[in-house]
Symmetry: C2
Subunit: 187 residues, 2 copies
């Protein structure tokens, strides 16, 4: 469901949106390295120079994608918290890893070192807002609470990354949701 090979005139201010939509598709399909600005322009039916009316550079386009990624992540986490599950920590951990697996290339982009390199404030703010949602589950303001929260975060994030990189092998008949649950539950 989305703008694709339309040759309609884009003079209505929707080119930016069309570019982001198409870019997200290309990202999911080919990864960050496969997301060329000229390819993107071609896919949207516009000249190679046109995207530069809306994004300063390829990096700026990637940053915009990463920002929407953090926003989706924030929404997903808030939805979990709002549903008041019996075990909030486990539920948010599951959702964290699920998000990473369901949005692999986007998740990787959100943590791309090249993007932080030219650290734009927009990305930082979106990331901070995203991680702030995790604090709903943290163990208060004590020093030991902070360590416990960091330990939980690193475990879940590491699990997401290693699963994404295909470094953790499932046992025969084991399903991934159960594995996630077991590792998160593991004190």
């Amino acid at each position: 469901m989305s703008t694709s090979l339309s040759n309609a005139p884009y003079h209505h201010g929707n080119l930016r949106h069309a570019l982001l939509d198409a870019a997200l598709l290309m990202l999911q399909r080919d990864g960050e390295a496969g997301l060329g600005l000229r390819d993107l322009a071609r896919a949207v039916g516009v000249s190679p120079a046109a995207p530069y009316r809306h994004f300063d550079s390829r990096a700026a386009l990637l940053e915009a994608l990463a920002v929407t990624g953090f926003q989706r992540f924030t929404a997903a986490m808030n939805a979990v918290a709002a549903s008041q599950p019996p075990d909030l920590l486990a539920a948010m951990g599951q959702a964290y890893v699920r998000f990473a697996l369901d949005n692999a290339a986007l998740f990787r982009l959100m943590f791309s070192p090249q993007l932080k390199r030219d650290n734009r404030p927009g990305l930082r703010m979106a990331a901070d807002a995203a991680f702030a949602t995790l604090r709903q589950v943290s163990g208060g303001d004590t020093a030991s609470g902070r360590i416990a929260a960091l330990a939980a975060w690193t475990k879940v994030h590491g699990l997401a990354v290693l699963l994404l990189d295909d470094q953790i092998a499932l046992q025969p008949g084991e399903d991934i949701e159960a594995l996630i649950g077991a590792i998160i539950g593991q004190q």
Copy 2:
């Protein structure tokens, strides 16, 4: 300590080594995206086509770098185990995170999704050998031992990645070794 702007004749079979040495320097300084094959050839004082006598493609060169990365990682982990520290788990965790922080770009390359994409067996083997060193600390062959080992690994790996990405803030006066120790010690 290394070959640099030498204009000596490379007809002795050492060009491959010189390329890898220079590539590692460029990788550490400019990251993977900044490692251009033409730049590399220039740095070593050779024509743009010369590297192709020793590496099929840029991806193959990156893979060779990643393989040496896994070998260094393996050596570092084995050294820790051989030193028989009182708390093996904590010591290996510290070494794991240290390695990541001290070899940031290399560590990222070792887990680069683009490299796995065209999954060469050499990379997989080097990675498997590297992670096999971690099993020296695992909790046996029981199901719960496996989960405990995976939980420890994901925690340490997540900590490494989040520190690398500058996502974890140190408290004033806090030193990073202590933070690592606290998080790893946290059951």
